[in-house]
């Protein structure tokens, strides 16, 4: 029994003792609610922390608003850019992509070099020095290196690495480890997943970088800061016109800068996830609370009547029972916030692995804590209110009388199948279920929700596997993708085919372009492929491999949505390379693909568009892995090759970073879903026991064995569970599709594909929860004090 403080009102004492008496049930309900609160707090505190870190960093580092790359422009253009209306500040740079030779790694890595002004810090996109020192203007081979790259190789200030710069190998010395707002999320161009080991960003003295790439007195990259209230599309249009003669690659606003865009997508995803999953959990909790309280109140019928007779008002009694729910919810909210803060701080650690800020501190705001607690209390009160209202509304005189014996009748099963001759216990079970179909239905729904949340939690593993299967087995069938530094004649393919270990090659031609549909536009790469690619395939999630039509573009359905176009519409394609032709090109087909925003064309059609001959910019290839090291060595020695992307490392990266993160949240989802499943099932079983204890005790007195009465009670639970299993999968399927619909964005389109094994696991878990709950209840049933149960009136 609970020890009571002296000055506690009697109804509150009753409240605490009643709760203590049903503590197992209360804990089960609280656990369900706490699971919801934990998810909410974990996701939202991460959202909040990332958003704060981002806002502070962008602001502090003067992260630019518009970015553009070009071939080469003379320095005087900088003044003209600064004069564009709405432009507040301009920073020009020299940038270059190089192949790196990192000590201890046989395959080549890609390096992105960015110029640093001598004797001052960059005007925009300032970098943050984590360790080491700034560059010495007198030493041309010093670089500052991005933190993630250095971490993944264990590089420290003072370490050296080789780089193929404009065809010549140079030794660079790392003097400082830095962060940049442009590379919070560092991903190599054209890659789908970040690879900290194979993509590094470096800052180098402008003079030495410019001289290496013949950029003295010019620049090939520009960042703009806009005055507040300036429309970026207008500025972008002007900047593009200005830079066009200099090989401008099309300016992009900050929202489409790759790092900022990925971070935005991640934040949006966190936000939707942080709302949707907890909403489902809390909804289930409210429902369970409602059922539990309705049944508990039915057992308190005569006590409610006595309180009324003593002069307690309906409002006082209702408040008393609502407090049951509020206390349970309060405990749930507080523990949910505590666990959520803990889980959230673990999540933040994982974000740190691929989003880099100078400081990414875990922040749990008071507002979020209060919102979680208030939200939980409101949900609990909603769950409780109808149950309480119904119980309190019963006229006292009626409640004083024992409930009239429930009106049973022969069940439909019995009258339909008369020759069936059901056993006595089965008859009792069937009649009970049929007498109160709504009650049975409510219990079934409760258990079905348990199946559903578990099913959805587990299904995410399938979803990730399907994504991996689609991307790494069906789409990318090549072992490696080579990219040339410059587009080359198709004959280059023969050279690649003769590299050590190469078995099969397939040409690829990618060209940067801006695609316009009316006012909407995107700057991206159009990939030219053979008519029916064998290695680098285009896969539609429902229809499989897609052939390249002789003419026109094949777009990701998502890109079609972004641009607001459909099959048959015409797009304006502005090529941002070479002679920069502009053409109207029809959309020949849309493909429902899984990743990114893609635009493809038949190789020959792309050549026609570019008015060029047989040209390739890269190749997909398969290889004999026994020759791997010789292959790498050869590739590193060829200046014409800008980079090589291996499928197995990409897959490894995906598993390491994205999948690690996803798997943790999936794991937590599954744990909480299991808690819900157990909480719901245990509650149903306990409620049935308290409702039936008198009846069951009477049967025991009449000579029934424990096994026989257990059969009656547990048989009922078993039937409800069996009904709930398929229903739960149906509900879960809808929930999963709802979540998936929210999950769809420009980065991912996940397919809600569920393997039969997942359904089996969800079912087995709920069946296990049912068995454990039944055993716990069975133990109580065995200890049923027959005399006490029968002596007390109902």
């Amino acid at each position: 029994m609970v020890a009571m403080p002296a000055r506690l009102r009697m109804l509150d004492r009753k409240l605490l003792r009643d709760l203590w008496a049903m503590r197992a049930q209360a804990v089960a309900i609280a656990a369900v609610m706490a699971a919801g609160v934990t998810m909410f707090v974990a996701y939202f505190s991460n959202f909040d922390s990332l958003q704060r870190a981002r806002a502070a960093y962008y602001d502090e580092a003067r992260f630019a608003d518009v970015f553009a790359t070009l071939k080469r422009a003379p320095s005087r253009i900088e003044a003209r850019l600064a004069a564009v209306p709405g432009v507040h500040a301009v920073d020009t740079r020299v940038v270059a992509d190089v192949t790196l030779d990192v000590p201890g790694m046989s395959d080549p890595a890609a390096g992105h070099l960015i110029s640093m002004p001598e004797r001052e810090r960059p005007r925009l996109n300032d970098i943050y020095l984590r360790r080491g020192r700034w560059l010495d203007a007198a030493r041309p081979d010093e670089v500052l290196a991005s933190e993630l790259f250095c971490e993944s190789h264990g590089l420290n200030p003072g370490d050296r690495l080789g780089a193929i710069i404009n065809g010549r190998r140079r030794e660079l010395t790392i003097v400082g480890i830095v962060l940049s707002p442009e590379y919070v999320y560092a991903i190599a161009p054209g890659e789908l997943f970040p690879d900290a080991k194979r993509y590094g960003v470096f800052w180098m003295n402008r003079r030495s970088l410019a001289s290496a790439f013949d950029m003295e007195g010019g620049f090939n990259d520009v960042s703009l800061e806009l005055a507040s209230g300036t429309s970026s599309p207008d500025v972008i249009a002007t900047v593009d016109r200005l830079l066009e003669p200099y090989g401008g690659g099309g300016a992009v606003p900050r929202s489409l800068q790759i790092s900022a865009w990925t971070l935005d997508n991640e934040l949006t995803q966190l936000q939707t996830f942080g709302l949707l999953v907890p909403a489902i959990f809390l909804g289930v909790a409210a429902f369970v609370l409602h059922i539990a309280l309705t049944r508990a109140l039915a057992l308190q019928r005569s006590q409610i009547a006595a309180l009324k007779a003593l002069g307690y008002s309906n409002a006082a009694i209702a408040w008393h029972y609502v407090k049951w729910a509020l206390i349970i919810a309060g405990v749930a909210a507080v523990s949910g916030v505590a666990i959520g803060a803990w889980v959230g701080s673990i999540f933040i650690g994982i974000y740190n692995a691929f989003f880099r800020f100078p400081t990414l501190a875990y922040h749990l705001s008071l507002g979020l804590v209060l919102l979680s607690i208030a939200g939980t209390l409101v949900v609990a009160a909603l769950g409780a209110q109808s149950a309480v209202r119904r119980a309190v509304r019963v006229p006292p005189a009626e409640a004083m009388r024992p409930e009239p014996p429930a009106r049973y009748r022969r069940s439909i099963v019995e009258s339909r199948w008369r020759p069936l001759r059901l056993s006595f216990a089965t008859r009792m079970i069937v009649r009970t279920l049929e007498r109160q179909p709504m009650k049975a239905f409510a219990s079934t729904i409760g258990i079905a929700f348990a199946v559903a949340v578990l099913f959805v939690g587990l299904a995410f593993m399938d979803v990730m596997n399907v994504l991996i299967e689609e991307q790494f087995n069906r789409t990318m069938r090549q072992d490696a993708t080579l990219t040339f530094a410059e587009p080359r004649s198709g004959r280059a393919l023969h050279d690649v085919a003769h590299l050590p270990g190469v078995l099969e090659v397939e040409p690829m031609r990618t060209v940067p372009a801006r695609i316009r549909a009316g006012t909407r536009s995107r700057t991206l790469a159009i990939t030219g492929l053979t008519a029916m690619p064998r290695l680098m395939r285009v896969i539609d999630r429902t229809h499989g491999p897609v052939a390249m039509p002789p003419d026109g573009l094949v777009l990701s359905q998502m890109l079609g949505q972004v641009l607001g176009v459909a099959e048959g519409d015409t797009l304006r394609v502005e090529v941002l390379e070479g002679r920069r032709p502009v053409h109207d090109v029809p959309v020949a087909a849309m493909v429902d693909d899984a990743l990114g925003l893609q635009a493809y064309m038949r190789l020959e059609a792309l050549h026609r568009l570019l008015r060029e001959g047989d040209t390739v910019s890269g190749t997909a290839l398969t290889m004999d892995f026994a020759e791997r090291d010789r292959f790498y060595a050869a590739v590193k020695a060829m200046p014409a090759i800008a980079g090589v992307a291996m499928r197995d490392t990409a897959l490894q990266n995906f598993r390491d970073t994205m999948a690690e993160h996803m798997n943790l949240s999936i794991f937590i989802n599954v744990i909480f879903a299991a808690i819900i499943a157990f909480g719901v099932v245990y509650n149903s079983a306990r409620v049935s026991l308290s409702e039936r204890s008198r009846e069951l005790a009477s049967l025991r007195v009449l000579g029934f064995t424990r096994a026989e009465i257990s059969l009656i009670l547990l048989g009922e639970i078993a039937i409800l569970t069996i009904l709930a299993l398929p229903l739960g999968v149906a509900i879960g399927y809808q929930m999963g599709r709802l979540i998936m619909a929210q999950f769809t964005n420009e980065v991912y389109r996940l397919s809600f594909v569920v393997k039969p094994a997942t359904i089996a696991w969800a079912w087995l878990t709920v069946i296990a929860a049912t068995i454990v709950s039944s055993l716990l209840v069975r133990r109580r049933l065995d200890r049923l004090d027959l005399v006490a149960v029968l002596k007390t009136p109902e």
Binding site: R13, Q303, A305, K308, G311, M400
Partner: protein
């Protein structure tokens, strides 16, 4: 609070010689397919300080009448006047106040709150009113001064019923309504419970209505009202009122 204080603050002409005046009480229950006429035009009066036994077989309508007098139920027809106030037209809030300030209930099955001790069950009521009797005094009055901190499950039936009586009288009600208070008890225990009721009636002057199907209890009444089949079958005033201890059954 022992006298018939008005229900509402408004002053009205009150017939101080009557606690209750009930006229033509009729109660019909519709229970699904069955229609039960529990009361068919019952008249009933109760004087201050009076101890009345309502006698009748089960199903005669005693409990229904008691519930209506206590404001737990409303009649289908007829009226009940308490201290100048018509209970039959009162709403739920007024009836709650009425029960809270003026009525003490004792039920056949005690209806104690199982999660509260004897003292706490009494305190449950004393918290509701302005000038209650201390719970300990109320329990001492029914002879349970030594069992204050026991839970209902730790008390015998007779003890539980005496806690219920202490709970009913602790708020110093004008009327004590007892529904088969000894119905679930054996003779010896029943007598102890009746003694407690008798003592409360005598020492506090609380008007008391006891309903029972046990004719022997009638001996301790100032007046006996017999109910049969929902009607008053007779009213008698026993010549020699005896103490509860001398009752025989």
């Amino acid at each position: 609070m022992t006298s018939t204080a008005p229900l509402e603050t408004s002053e009205s002409v009150v017939d101080t010689s009557r606690v209750f005046t009930a006229r033509g009480i009729t109660k019909v229950y519709e229970m699904g397919e069955v229609r039960v006429e529990a009361l068919r035009g019952v008249d009933f009066d109760l004087a201050p300080g009076e101890l009345v036994v309502l006698l009748g077989p089960s199903g005669s309508g005693k409990s229904t009448l008691l519930n209506i007098l206590g404001g737990l139920d409303v009649p289908t027809a007829g009226e009940v006047i308490y201290a100048g106030q018509n209970l039959t037209t009162a709403d739920e809030a007024v009836l709650t106040t009425y029960r809270r300030r003026h009525i003490g209930f004792v039920f056949q099955f005690y209806n104690l709150i199982p999660s509260l001790t004897a003292r706490e069950n009494v305190a449950l009521v004393t918290e509701l009113v302005d000038r209650p009797m201390p719970p300990e005094d109320a329990l001492a009055l029914v002879g349970l001064g030594q069992r204050l901190d026991h839970f209902p499950a730790q008390l015998s039936g007779g003890e539980q019923q005496r806690v219920a009586i202490a709970r009913a009288i602790a708020k110093q009600p004008a009327v004590l309504l007892c529904d088969e208070p000894t119905g679930a008890l054996d003779i010896t225990t029943g007598v102890v419970v009746l003694e407690a009721l008798e003592r409360v009636n005598r020492e506090l002057g609380t008007a008391t209505v006891i309903i029972t199907h046990n004719a022997a209890i009638a001996g301790m009444a100032d007046r006996v009202v017999r109910l049969a089949d929902g009607r008053v079958a007779g009213v008698e005033t026993p010549s020699g009122k005896v103490g509860a201890r001398e009752l025989q059954w």
